[in-house]
């Protein structure tokens, strides 16, 4: 069990490094990584994208956010990490 947790933390740190190396999209304040299992029981990670509190969201921005988060997700997958990166959108406090 400890080995699995260690592996998860290693993947989390690796994903955080990939995020740090990727320019943050306009309108986002930060992205954090949370670990867990998805609904099929597979180990996964959630990239929590925090929007600026004053951001006016429209379809165009959401479309660009999807492109951005898909690219980021593929970078994580292509780096060899095994946890699928899901994206969640939240407004920063």
């Amino acid at each position: 069990m400890a080995v699995i947790e260690d592996q998860g933390q290693l993947e989390k740190r690796a994903a955080e490094q990939i995020i740090a190396d990727t320019p943050l999209m306009d309108g986002l304040e930060s992205i954090s990584v949370e670990l867990g299992d998805d609904h099929t029981g597979d180990p996964a990670m959630w990239l929590i994208c925090y929007m600026r509190p004053d951001l006016k969201v429209d379809d165009s921005w959401l479309r660009r956010l999807n492109e951005y988060s898909n690219r980021l997700g593929l970078k994580i997958i292509d780096s060899g990490l095994t946890r699928f990166p899901y994206t969640r959108l939240r407004r920063a406090a």
Binding site: D38, H39, L65, F84, T87, L89, R90, R91
Partner: protein, 178 residues
């Protein structure tokens, strides 16, 4: 309009439900949250039926629509998620490696990635009452489904799309080749 496009229209309607044109709310927060959850579910099923409809067109083009609907039920959600994962890697493994080459196209990877994302969101929307689903998140997921459907339409008549569809049904048989 196809059933899957109708589902996207329904998702857009649900996501906006309870909010008037000037942005004021006509429903309470809980009613709006329920509508947003149903919108996310509809967005997932739009992509699900878009792929399955295309699959049936490919494997049973001469079968009547009523029978087609039975064939569409052969596709299993968890298995589809698993197969999508096989097409995401930069370097494909067998059997797709031997059939379509080293990597899937950007459009197919977008479809596979979006399908996995939407399936998880749909599961949370339908079953996880602690899932905090905002209106922006619901809109984002609807757009994700719509863009994935457009990606699929660009590649639907290619060899890799054919192999992807056959994989959804035949992966277990192909695993003998791995």
């Amino acid at each position: 309009m196809s059933f899957s496009r109708d589902l996207i229209s329904h998702a857009i309607y649900l996501a906006a439900h309870g909010t008037s044109a000037d942005g004021t709310f006509t429903q309470n927060q809980q009613q709006r949250t329920i509508s947003q959850r149903r919108a996310v579910s509809a967005a997932y099923y739009a992509l699900f039926h878009h792929l399955n409809g295309s699959a049936v067109d490919l494997i049973a083009p001469n079968v009547q629509s009523e029978t087609n609907h039975h064939i569409q039920r052969w596709f299993e959600h968890a298995q589809m998620k698993k197969i999508c994962g096989h097409f995401l890697s930069t370097k494909l493994d067998k059997p797709p490696l031997a059939l379509i080459g080293g990597t899937a196209s950007t459009d197919l990877r977008n479809v596979a990635q979006s399908f996995i994302t939407l399936q998880e969101a749909r599961h949370d929307a339908d079953y996880n009452l602690s899932y905090s689903l905002g209106s922006e998140e619901a809109q984002k997921l609807i757009i994700l489904a719509l863009v994935a459907m457009d990606s699929w339409d660009r590649i639907a008549n290619t060899a890799e799309a054919n192999i992807f569809i056959l994989s959804l049904l035949m992966w277990k048989n192909w695993e003998k080749e791995r």
